[in-house]
């Protein structure tokens, strides 16, 4: 039944799969005008009578079974409005769940008619009628974007952000508003981060100059004494420490200057150590005498806060028997301890400081004027749009609070920054709603610039992009195209490889898979990160050099370093740096033969041709096979299966329930059997010589990886392009694709094709698309029960 209804579609790999694919089958959607009316007629004439006949017994009136009252759906439009519900209904009718066999008179032909009719109605939508921009839920920045944005805004690379919780993924990506939750745990982390980032990015006045000297009299520990001339010193007669407390204002380089002298005795010279909070920083011999104390200078890095600095005596000596009374007792004397910050103050001030606090009150500028100017710029950059006067006023109140407490101007600005970094206007990508009474709205240039920046850079817009938004230039397609090109050429565009490609290709699973350490001791952390980097660099090259997206499949070179090259069996690549290497040299063929992908699609102890095949269908061709039915036994569970993996899978396919999906998955996967679970070349597996190659349902043979590459490039370019565009659109919009996005995807593909699928053409077409620049609610959406 399943196959039959689908046979109406032209053959494509996708045909084995579920409704999702049918939705995106452009061929079907391209059916011309009048479709809408046809469907409406069909619903009335064919479907309604059948539904009434077989379903109304249970599914009518107010207390209908399952709350489904079919009488309420009077027209085709009613069905579309409750599309989700009808999709579910369709599944149950198709599976034969409904109507229940026991009480139903429905014939097999009638069931087929209902299924085919509903599929038609729900999926063959008239593009001119359904196209809509949609409306993604506003979303917060994910942890990666947060870290990048904070860095761009304040110069601080806040590393703990990498472990922020709550970044769940949806539709394959971690930038989907609906699932990016904000639990109290995360807010707590934002709050702590804001405090730390503010302290690190803005130097307070105290950190500009710090110098404090504590004389012997004020030191703790040892015995204080004065010599005849009234010069004080603390005696450390046995091993002990003289300390003083310092309030270190900011993290940075400091000098600890300890002025000491010693009374020598015994074979060794007196020795001292400098300690901070109990940790020894440095030691030194002390030869100086009372006559001429010596100042030992210890360079160190200190963290802000109360810090106990001390001098310790390390090698006490006492020998009452010594002949020379002067050689009996070794003592250390501490005259003073001083802490100063690095003489070159500029170095201790964060670079971001002058950028953030570009003005301070002076003879010419009042506090109010300076504060407002600094706050206005800070908030506008953080909110990615001009801060309103009200916002500036409210933020300034925080600075005023500090001022009232006697804090410095800089401290006030620190506090303002702290609040900004927790504000929802910073943490969320805020967009205005669609105004009441309107059905569609265009994004403001600021909203657009933010969307572009997070799409291409995973970070906030830079000053140039914000300026373009401010000048409203971003309204023209020429300017948008210019900005896209500039942004793609910028190093920040590497985030497309790091975030988009890595998630699209599921490379994050590299951190999850655990090849058996006994069988694959070669799988080290170093190799793992090299695997990832290869794929990232290959994708990044497409971005940087604006190549055709198909080069991902058929590029003649890749990037390896010595570790990865060795893994690939090539020994003459030297160094940790990645370098371009011809694929013919490596005996590999395109994306599918990269170790990263071969590894994430394997089981811990063996390869899984099924997973590899599934991966290709799902991620390169957007044709995920349906999940195995729950009662279909998996491969390794069927006891009767014997022989090599290939033989066993052949037996598995004899079960008709398995065959339809497995024929494709297995054929694709077996083309890659020359690569072991970590992507190493092999000719043997645990059953002997590897059996490789398979046959696709349409008869095409794929003998090995090279043949697979050829097939993909020759026969599946369209599917690949569509797959990439769909995934990238999800990533760009931060929402899953819906039926009303089909026309948009078609348009993007058409535009990209005209420019030979160059990367920038795909990106530009996405930026120009309806859902990227507009917001509108789909026509058929609602709660129709």
């Amino acid at each position: 039944m399943f196959r039959q209804t689908l046979s109406r579609l032209r053959y494509r790999l996708a045909s084995i799969t579920i409704l999702f694919v049918i939705i995106f089958s452009s061929a079907e959607l391209a059916i011309a005008q009048g479709l809408h009316q046809q469907q409406a007629d069909k619903f009335k004439s064919v479907l309604q009578p059948l539904l009434a006949k077989h379903c109304n017994d249970c599914h009518s009136t107010d207390n209908a079974e399952g709350g489904l009252d079919l009488n309420r759906f009077k027209s085709y439009e009613d069905v579309l409005v409750a599309r989700e519900r009808w999709m579910k209904l369709l599944t149950r009718v198709r599976l034969g769940d409904m109507p229940p066999v026991a009480d139903s008179q429905i014939t097999e032909d009638e069931r087929k008619t209902v299924v085919a009719g509903l599929e038609d109605i729900l999926n063959n939508l008239d593009p001119s009628v359904v196209k809509a921009a949609g409306k993604p839920t506003i979303r917060r920045l994910n942890r990666f974007e947060y870290r990048q944005t904070v860095k761009a805004l304040t110069g601080v690379d806040y590393e703990p952000a990498k472990d922020f919780p709550g970044d769940d993924a949806g539709y394959g990506f971690d930038n989907i508003g609906d699932v990016l939750s904000l639990p109290p745990l995360l807010l707590e982390k934002y709050l702590n981060a804001a405090e730390e980032i503010a302290v690190k990015s803005i130097a307070t006045e105290t950190s500009v100059k710090f110098r404090k000297k504590v004389d012997a009299k004020e030191l703790t520990g040892g015995n204080y004494r004065q010599d005849r001339r009234g010069r004080g010193a603390v005696t450390l007669a046995s091993e002990g420490t003289a300390t003083a407390e310092f309030q270190i204002p900011a993290e940075g380089k400091y000098e600890i200057r300890a002025t000491v002298f010693a009374q020598q005795a015994g074979p060794d010279v007196a020795e001292m150590g400098v300690v901070a909070n109990g940790n020894q920083l440095k030691t030194s011999k002390v030869r100086a005498t009372e006559r001429e104390p010596f100042t030992f200078v210890c360079d160190c890095k200190l963290k802000p806060g109360k810090t106990t600095i001390g001098v310790e005596f390390l090698n006490d000596y006492f020998n009452a028997e010594a002949a020379d009374p002067k050689d009996r007792d070794r003592n250390l004397f501490v005259v003073s301890i001083e802490v100063r910050n690095d003489p070159d103050v500029a170095k201790a001030t964060p670079e971001s400081h002058s950028d953030l606090v570009f003005q301070r009150p002076s003879d010419k500028i009042t506090y109010d004027v300076a504060a407002e100017a600094v706050i206005k710029r800070m908030a506008s950059r953080a909110f990615r749009r001009p801060a309103t006067a009200e916002e500036v006023t409210k933020l300034k109140r925080l600075a005023d609070q500090v001022k009232a407490e006697g804090g410095s101007f800089e401290e006030g600005m620190q506090f303002v920054l702290q609040a900004i970094l927790v504000s929802p206007n910073f943490l969320y990508k805020v967009e205005e709603p669609i105004p009441a009474g309107q059905s569609r709205r265009e994004l403001t240039t600021y909203e657009l610039s933010t969307s572009m920046a997070y799409f291409l850079w995973s970070s906030m817009p830079d000053d140039e992009l914000l300026a373009s938004a401010w000048e409203q230039k971003l309204r023209t397609p020429e300017e948008r195209q210019k900005q896209v090109k500039r942004m793609l050429a910028d190093p920040r565009a590497r985030s497309l490889a790091e975030n988009f490609a890595v998630q699209w290709l599921q490379l994050r699973y590299l951190d999850v898979v655990k090849p058996d350490p006994k069988l694959f001791p070669n799988f080290t952390e170093e190799l793992k990160s090299a695997m990832r980097e290869e794929t990232v660099l290959c994708f990044d090259e497409i971005v940087r050099e604006d190549k055709s997206i198909f080069e991902l499949l058929d590029s003649d070179h890749t990037y390896v370093n010595n570790v990865l090259a060795k893994h690939y069996g090539v020994n003459d690549v030297v160094g940790r740096e990645f370098q371009k290497v011809s694929l013919s040299k490596l005996n590999r063929a395109g994306l599918m033969t990269q170790a990263s992908i071969l590894t994430i699609t394997s089981n811990p102890t063996r390869t899984s041709p099924v997973k590899r095949g599934k991966w290709i269908l799902e991620n390169l061709l957007a044709a995920p096979p349906p999940p195995a039915a729950p009662n279909v036994p998996g491969l390794e569970q069927q006891k009767q299966l014997t022989g090599s993996l290939k033989e066993r899978l052949e037996q598995h396919r004899k079960n008709p329930a398995c065959a339809t999906c497995h024929q494709e998955m297995d054929a694709l996967g077996f083309a890659l059997e020359n690569f072991d679970p970590t992507g190493r070349w092999r000719t043997q597996d645990e059953w002997g010589k590897v059996s490789i190659g398979g046959e696709l349902p349409n008869g095409t043979k794929v003998e090995d990886a090279k043949a697979l590459q050829k097939v993909l490039v020759a026969d599946f370019k369209d599917e690949f392009a569509r797959c990439l565009v769909e995934r990238m659109l999800v990533y760009a919009l931060g929402r899953g694709l819906e039926y009303y996005d089909v026309p948009t995807v078609d348009e993007i593909l058409a535009k990209a094709q005209k420019e030979d699928y160059r990367f920038s053409a795909v990106v530009t077409a996405i930026v120009e698309s309806e859902p990227f620049r507009y917001r509108s609610l789909p026509k058929f959406q609602g709660e129709m029960k």
Binding site: Y171, N192, Q506, R735
Partner: protein, 443 residues
């Protein structure tokens, strides 16, 4: 034993005074002195991919039941153990939504709800029992609840047959649309329990810092409320979530008297240990410590996310757990599954040992907890959501007798147990999710 762990354990008993506790004194009731009121603590522990049931389910029912191999690791604690057979999670079933049993098993485990099948848009599940309890009794402690685990959210959106990863990696749900993310880093758990890192603490004096944080929270509340007024309903939900978090943190900061007057007996753990076993054990040490210090009375812990395919080389299981769970009655596979189940239980024994060693008046902490342990799937091959493997550990501050195997009527909603557990705290709970009664015979 790794050095960091040894150091960590050595710390137990040698109290290290941490500088941000201004008044250091022990809770006299815990360390002798007047008899303390018994404080009930809750725990919920999830293991993925079901259980090898023949090695789990006792044959005898009632008192002094027989311990099957999986549970033998807990023999020492049998008098604290209650096995419940016959529970079902109806919400975990397909109900026309097709495959995705692993996601549904976790999503329904503490909620009893039938999660909405979606890859991301409009997620919808149900309030979980731990959150309901935390909501009732959480105001008595510094943290209303702690959500812990070992695996962060899955790294990709394709989690289980069309279900967003939000379902496979979160079992605590504050509301039907707000999952409560779990913490997997022991160091961060420690910080939440006892305050943030020393570095930040020292930067500005504590009181000043807290006043500032409160001002920041006031500011952002106003900001968020203004923003919320501008937005549409879907987006408002997101701002509600934000505002809830703000209020929650605010409460925590203002509740000065709820400050934990307990000196942590262990050092702050340094990040996530490389070994899974060490990781779980450190988390369990922290769980014991949070109960002991009364930081919170409600904790959830996920051994791994739904459908986890982690191999367990620690017990010579080299294949992925999920792959194995589809055993098709293959004996070798089932044996390995049982080995994994046993391993998880052996780690749980570590927690029991810790809890038993902590005295609270005349009882041990193990007497005062009720820890629920189990899976939302019974047989990993069949993906069935009835006949679930469920165990209670601890005597629930007098509400659970222990040493019993309750054979409940088939299809008893697991949520019946939750209502029963929730009411042990003295709170009235009429019903929860699909519950239709209470579990009798626990004491």
């Amino acid at each position: 034993m790794s050095t960091s762990r040894r150091r960590f354990l050595q710390g137990l008993g040698t109290a290290i005074a941490l500088p941000w506790f201004e008044s250091l004194h022990f809770r006299s009731s815990v360390f002798g002195g007047e008899t303390p009121e018994r404080k009930l603590r809750y725990g919920f522990f999830y293991v993925p991919n079901g259980m090898h049931m023949p090695d789990w389910r006792p044959e005898k029912k009632g008192i002094n039941f027989d311990l099957k191999p999986t549970l033998q690791g807990l023999a020492e604690y049998q008098e604290y153990m209650t096995i419940l057979s016959g529970c079902a999670l109806n919400g975990g079933r397909a109900h026309g939504d097709g495959p995705g049993d692993h996601a549904r098993a976790v999503a329904s485990f503490l909620t009893g709800a039938h999660a909405k099948k979606t890859g991301g848009a409009d997620i919808k599940n149900g309030e979980s029992i731990d959150q309901l309890i935390a909501n009732r009794i959480g105001n008595q402690t510094k943290l209303a609840s702690l959500e812990l685990g070992t695996e962060p959210s899955a790294p990709s959106g394709h989690c289980d047959s069309g279900y967003s990863c939000v379902y496979t990696s979160n079992m605590s749900w504050r509301t039907e649309t707000s999952p409560v993310a779990k913490e997997c880093n022991p160091g961060s758990v420690f910080d939440r329990m006892f305050g943030a890192g020393q570095e930040a603490q020292d930067a500005i004096a504590k009181s000043k810092r807290e006043i500032r944080k409160k001002s920041v929270l006031d500011f952002v509340t106003e900001d968020a409320e203004a923003l919320k007024r501008k937005l549409g309903t879907g987006d408002q939900r997101k701002l509600d979530e934000y505002l809830y978090a703000v209020r929650d943190v605010e409460k925590r900061i203002s509740a000065v008297k709820k400050e934990v007057d307990f000196v942590p007996t262990i050092e702050r753990p340094d990040g996530i240990p490389a070994s899974y076993e060490e990781h779980v054990k450190i988390m369990f040490d922290l769980i014991a410590l949070s109960y002991q210090a009364d930081v919170t009375r409600v904790i959830t812990f996920m051994y791994a996310n739904a459908g986890s395919n982690r191999p367990y080389p620690e017990v010579e299981v080299r294949d992925g757990h999920h792959d194995l769970s589809h055993h098709g009655k293959n004996e070798e596979k089932q044996k390995k599954i049982a080995q994994i189940n046993k391993f998880h239980i052996s780690l749980f024994a570590h927690l029991c040992e810790k809890l038993k060693g902590i005295k609270e008046g005349e009882h041990s902490l193990l007497d005062n907890v009720v820890l629920m342990y189990g899976s939302g799937i019974s047989d990993g091959d069949r993906h069935n959501h009835d006949d679930l493997p469920i165990m209670l550990m601890g005597r629930g501050a007098g509400h659970v007798s222990g040493n019993r195997h309750l054979l409940l009527e088939k299809e008893t909603p697991l949520t019946n147990l939750y209502v029963t557990m929730a009411e042990m705290s003295g709170e009235k709970v009429d019903s929860f999710s699909d519950s239709d009664g209470r579990v009798k015979g626990l004491s």
